[in-house]
């Protein structure tokens, strides 16, 4: 890697949600993010993958500063953001922006496109109204929207174009970090490629660092430098993308990879390696949290929690037996 200066990092991060008792469910505490450590280097793209409900969106929101952690800290350029003065905190908020999954619900239907994109500028009180207008028009041009669209409403646009609006809004404050939460999952195949290209282009132009959350491993393989796999709130494996896709060290990663239908697969579908649903996050299994679905699980896995440890250069996995297993 060219530059390994860390811009955004998480240390022993926890986020818990409590559920009140209701007629259909008992009360309980859900640990959505459970002791997560992450480091994002300047100019790096970090992928986060996992099944729905594994906490990847919560982690993304924590990293973007949209919600506060219950425990642990998030550091931006080495500074703990929860200890910042209101003034400095505002500056931090300008530095991290988020792109959301659903381009239909993430834009206010009653606001004009121009106002949506200039709102972050308004909040951060950057420039005069005329200045803002020209900044917004320049941004619209960069993301491939015609400046004439300034006064239109979101419903006049297709999913792909709306995602461009979301990207322009995220770029408005000239951030250093963008957290993209499933930015292409809701789009058609032919539009997905356009938006992925746009994100890669913007990243290169503005030297952005990206946190790219997705359940689509082929997309992550394409855009990411590093990939972390989450399961029930914890990171179970983290490695440089190429290394991870070449040889993963956690059985869960293996299962995720095996489940992706492949075009170049002439041998037909591979046997399913993962049975059942993800366990309830209110009752995380003992020991290794994956043991209930793991086909390699042994006695030790039920009782002892495996640490996320360095297995070999830059490759971490939380599995007792990763050295012995030959995962595909």
């Amino acid at each position: 890697m060219k530059d390994t200066t860390v811009i955004l990092s998480a240390h022993n991060l926890y986020k818990r949600f409590t559920q009140k008792r209701s007629p259909t469910s008992p009360s309980g505490v859900l640990t959505a993010v459970d002791n997560v450590n992450l480091e994002l280097a300047i100019g790096e793209t970090m992928g986060i993958a996992g099944e729905s409900g594994c906490g990847k969106t919560t982690l993304g929101k924590l990293m973007a500063g949209l919600i506060q952690p219950d425990d642990g800290e998030i550091c931006f350029s080495g500074e703990n953001i929860s200890g910042l003065s209101p003034d400095r905190y505002k500056k931090f908020r300008r530095q991290t922006q988020m792109i959301f999954q659903d381009p239909f619900s993430s834009l206010n239907p009653r606001m004009r496109i121009g106002d949506i994109i200039s709102e972050p500028l308004l909040i951060s009180q950057a420039g005069s109204a005329a200045n803002r207008r020209s900044t917004v028009e320049a941004l619209m041009a960069t993301v491939g929207l015609r400046p004439e669209f300034f006064n239109r409403f979101p419903h006049e646009f297709s999913g792909g174009q709306r995602q461009r609006i979301g990207i322009a809004r995220a770029l408005a404050t000239a951030p250093a970090v963008i957290v993209a939460d499933e930015p292409v999952s809701a789009l058609d195949v032919s539009i997905q490629a356009q938006i992925i290209n746009l994100l890669l282009e913007m990243k290169a132009t503005y030297n952005l660092s990206l946190v790219f959350i997705s359940h689509d491993l082929s997309v992550l393989k394409h855009v990411c430098d590093r990939v972390s796999i989450m399961y029930l709130g914890s990171i179970v494996e983290s490695a440089p993308a190429q290394q991870l896709f070449q040889r993963c060290l956690h059985p869960y990663t293996e299962a995720l990879l095996a489940a992706v239908p492949r075009i170049t697969n002439d041998a037909g579908p591979r046997p399913i390696v993962l049975k059942d649903d993800i366990p309830s996050p209110f009752a995380i299994p003992s020991g290794c949290r994956f043991h209930t679905r793991c086909r390699y699980a042994r006695e030790k896995c039920i009782h002892e929690v495996p640490e996320l440890e360095l297995k070999h250069s830059d490759h971490r996995a939380a599995c007792h037996f990763s050295e012995e297993l030959f995962l595909s």
């Binding site: 099944e51 195949v189 032919s190 359940h215 995720l256 993800i278």
Partner: protein
């Protein structure tokens, strides 16, 4: 053996202020017993509308203007509404995309699975309940017997989709239409559901129409693939042939734009532009605006679906 289902020149249309537009335009395909035909395309390409036309559930004000849909010798379009109702859920059933919205939230799942059995097969309640539990076991629901009294909200997305499949299979249909059955699910659950549908096909000789936008799924789970664009089939062939030897520029572009076919970090070969809307008054080929190799005639006339090699059909002026 004649095909189980034959669709011939189907036109499903919607009225607009300035005339009628076809969401499904001149579509013909056939499905044999025990085989899976995949319908691929982007949103708005007409694939779901084709599925709904077979069920005769085209939403108003849409209507089927012409064509025929023949199931085992009977033209479905000529049937009375009452006879059609006897076919839906009994001989043809459908699995919808959203397992959250295709179940009734205020009915127990047992009752929902029993409904087609009691209506179509006239089973008494007790037998229907037994069969429902058996169906839930077939679709891999853990503790199936106890789940009959559950409501949909008590189940996860994957389990709800299993319930929807159990409902669809209740009367041993000849044809199963699966409209994006796994789009709302995780990849791990998707693999389970696709394997389930596939194993049921192998065991019961049912024909399947699989609507999807995922090219990986058609590679692994279908025998024949039809690619739709702007309401028309633009290419159809045996699935391996179509994926290895695509003939239409749209199919080629789709395959080329996939991340797995690109070098990591490099720009993807994205298709520019977006598909035409339903009300865009196309005179020629619907794809010509985005096509890398358009010919003058592409704007004037719709190319015919031509057999380029045996069993491989392409709708493109460049291939004629």
């Amino acid at each position: 053996m004649p095909p189980l289902l034959t669709i011939d020149r189907l036109h499903t249309c919607f009225p607009f202020q300035d005339g009628v537009q076809c969401a499904v335009n001149d579509l013909s395909l056939s499905i044999h017993k025990g085989s899976t035909v995949a319908l691929v395309g982007e949103s708005g390409s007409g694939k779901s509308m084709t599925a709904l036309s077979i069920m005769r559930l085209v939403p108003s004000p849409g209507f089927i203007r012409e064509g025929s849909i023949v199931l085992d010798g009977t033209d479905l379009l000529g049937l009375s509404e009452e006879s059609m109702r006897k076919i839906r859920g009994s001989r043809i059933s459908m699995v919808f995309q959203e397992p959250m919205t295709s179940l009734n939230p205020v009915l127990r799942i047992g009752d929902q699975i029993m409904e087609p059995l009691m209506l179509h097969r006239k089973l008494p309640r007790k037998d229907a309940a037994e069969r429902a539990a058996e169906l839930l076991r077939t679709v891999g629901m853990p503790a199936a017997g106890d789940r009959l009294r559950d409501y949909p909200h008590q189940l996860s997305g994957g389990m709800r989709q299993r319930v929807v499949i159990a409902m669809a299979l209740a009367c041993n249909p000849d044809l199963l239409i699966a409209d994006e059955p796994t789009t709302a699910l995780d990849v791990t659950i998707q693999a389970q559901i696709l394997e389930l549908i596939d194993s049921l096909r192998r065991n019961s000789d049912m024909g399947i129409l699989l609507v999807t936008h995922d090219l990986g799924i058609i590679a692994e789970r279908s025998d024949v693939t039809c690619v739709m664009y702007a309401g028309r089939i633009v290419e159809s062939a045996a699935s391996p042939e179509l994926l290895h030897n695509p003939g239409h520029p749209y199919t080629k572009a789709l395959l080329a734009s996939l991340p797995q076919n690109a070098e990591p970090g490099k720009p993807l070969n994205a298709l520019t532009g977006q598909p035409p809307g339903l009300n865009s008054n196309l005179t020629g080929c619907g794809f010509c605006e985005r096509c890398p190799i358009p010919l003058p005639e592409c704007r004037q006339q719709v190319p015919p679906l031509t057999e380029t090699t045996p069993g491989h059909y392409v709708r493109c002026w460049n291939r004629i």
